[in-house]
Amino acid sequence: MASITMAAALNQALDEEMDRDERVFLIGEDIPDPTGGAFQVTKGLSTKYGLERVLDSPISEQAIIGASTGAAMAGMRPVAEIMICDFLGVCMDQLANHAAKLRFMSGGATTVPMVVRTMGSGGINFGGQHSQMLEAWLVHTPGLKVCIPSTPADAKGLLTAAIRDPDPVVIIEPCVLYSVPGEVPESAHVIAPGTADIKRAGSDVTVVTYGRQVHDALAAAEAVAGELSVEVIDLRWLQPWDVETVLASARKTTRVVVVHQAVQRGGFGGEVAAVLQEHLFGTLTAPILRVAGKNTPVPYATELESFHIPSAEEIATAIRAVAEGSG
């Protein structure tokens, strides 16, 4: 296994899948060389596979999603790039009303095996319109599958699985993790939908999280390690999500903290908490706590933004609170 960055791991997954299956192609804004995408994830691929398979789109996100949807219905395997997650706002109709629903509305007569790659920002002073995590909109849209990686290996495994999946999958790639290196399997690596990963085993408290916050949760677990044994579950897939793995952990620890970067109100953490309290009534020894983005737009200034985004300290505080049985 080689140690490469998450951006390189994603690039590797695209490369391998384009090599393996000639139906796979990429479409997005500014993705060809020499730049290879706003965040260089597609670098080298237009040079290797040609501009016919790495399509540089106008700034037309509805057209990008539509073209991917139609091409997928016709048997291709498009991988669209929506440069930043916030831009889903301009193409939600194509994604949520069409890509997501066409299999169902056609009674299975048509299918939409496509992938949307989008960068999840935040924490880099990009301001209110370039910093949101919007997975909650997607998870609330039946027909879509959704995943978010936290490590280079997972990034490769999730993106490969997404490309091979028969349904539309959105993968949100956390920007701040693009440059973080990690060991990545050199050959094809597939992480099946709905499989979480226990990133740290523990027995006192379960932290359920995904994406960038996996690292904050691990830091928090380390910070409290002298007092408490914390299990950190990286969901990886949000839809479908691995209820069984989380339940098993929570039955063991009896205390759960759910963490994500998206704003708390209406976030995916509410869904997780609602499911867990239902299954574990009488088993838990503390309320399920959520640590999430504060209920405001994402601000620009570092002092404000770092307060808006959940921190390892806040996670540690929540871990201690549930360990004491209080909310």
Binding site: G70, M73, A74, L102, S106, G108, A109, T110, K145
Partner: protein, 333 residues
């Protein structure tokens, strides 16, 4: 290009094609009449956007399609679906929400798909079919399969963002798409010229570097020739065309609405120019035998009533099928 000389155009279309268009027009017209009948007699209660008045244009455009070509339409799409070859019985079944409908009762009138006939998408979101049509065409271009995608939409749809993005993308990538704007002069209750200033919708094509033509959509030959030429261009790799077909909605926006917003003389003029009898008269004038037309009408009429009976008699879907087709794998809850 503006409206061409109709009788001359008509004569350049061979008789087989003219009869094909006539037969499809008849099918659409009778199927539409059948649905309105079932609605008025209370046999069914569905939301229905009748294509009455727009039959000929769909039939003509359909005649320009080759087997394997793709088409995309809207909630007002019965004419396009049937012209594209969607199976009549299963289409009616779907409209009635039956388990043996094209979409197993899940889609309904606004979302008919019959991919075996190339009828790929029917959308209820104004303008949303255009970007998806590009994708179908992109697949054809990438594979070089020689298929053309025909996407139908209304005049009102030309004011929404998706139209703009789609035409621009199709133009720069020379996608094999024919954009068929069925300009029936109204979007819901708003006359076209209250929602846009351009004299003809086809004028917008220039901004995309794409040819645009305006035809009398109620004239079979003129429409057929324009769509066929656009399809030919697209198939050769020459890129997309915007074909604006002027027509009129006889039944208003949805079946049963008051139409009070439409001036009486405008409706009367449109009705007087009803494309269905007009096409019939043209055929007779060009020498087709009355008996040939009558035979088609009789045969298609039979087919339509049988299909209606089939649809009415069919069973609704089993509620448990709700969990199928959300994903490839069945879901629970």
């Amino acid at each position: 290009m503006s409206i061409t000389d109709t009788p001359r155009a008509q004569a350049t279309v061979d008789e087989a094609t003219r009869l094909k268009i006539f037969e499809t027009t008849t099918l659409i017209n009778l199927a539409d009449e059948q649905l309105r009948d079932m609605l008025m007699t209370g046999k069914i209660a569905i939301i229905y956007y009748s294509p009455r008045g727009q039959e000929v244009l769909a039939a003509a455009a359909g005649a320009a399609q080759r087997p394997g070509d793709y088409s995309v339409t809207t909630y007002r799409g019965l004419h396009d679906m049937l012209a594209g070859g969607a199976p009549l019985r299963e289409t009616l079944s779907e409209m009635l929400g039956k388990g043996n409908g094209t979409c197993r009762g899940k889609g309904g009138p606004m979302h008919i798909s019959a991919p075996e006939a190339g009828v790929m998408v029917t959308t209820g979101i104004v303008g949303a079919g255009l970007p998806i049509a590009n994708g179908l065409a992109l697949a054809s271009k990438m594979r070089g399969d020689g298929k053309v995608t025909f996407v139908n939409f209304g005049d009102g749809a030309t004011n929404i963002g998706a139209f703009h993005e789609a035409l621009n993308m199709a133009a720069i990538w020379d996608l094999p798409v024919v954009f068929i704007c069925q300009n029936n002069q109204y979007g819901e209750f708003t006359p076209r010229l209250e929602s846009q200033k351009c004299e003809n919708i086809a004028d917008r094509a220039a901004g995309y570097g794409m040819p645009g033509v305006t035809v009398d959509g109620n004239d079979a030959a003129e429409t057929y020739l324009a769509v066929a030429a656009a399809a030919e261009r697209a198939r050769r790799g020459g890129g997309p065309t915007l074909v604006e077909c002027n027509t009129f909605r006889f039944m208003g926006h949805y079946f049963g609405e008051t139409q009070e917003y439409m001036p009486a003389d405008v409706i009367a003029a449109a009705m007087a120019a009803d494309p269905v009898p007009r096409q019939r008269a043209q055929l007779l004038e060009l020498g087709t035998d009355e008996a040939v037309l009558a035979e088609i009408e009789q045969r298609v009429g039979q087919e339509v009533s049988e299909a209606a009976e089939f649809a009415l008699a069919s069973a609704p879907p089993d509620p448990q099928e709700l969990f199928d087709d959300v994903y490839a794998e069945r879901v629970s809850i």
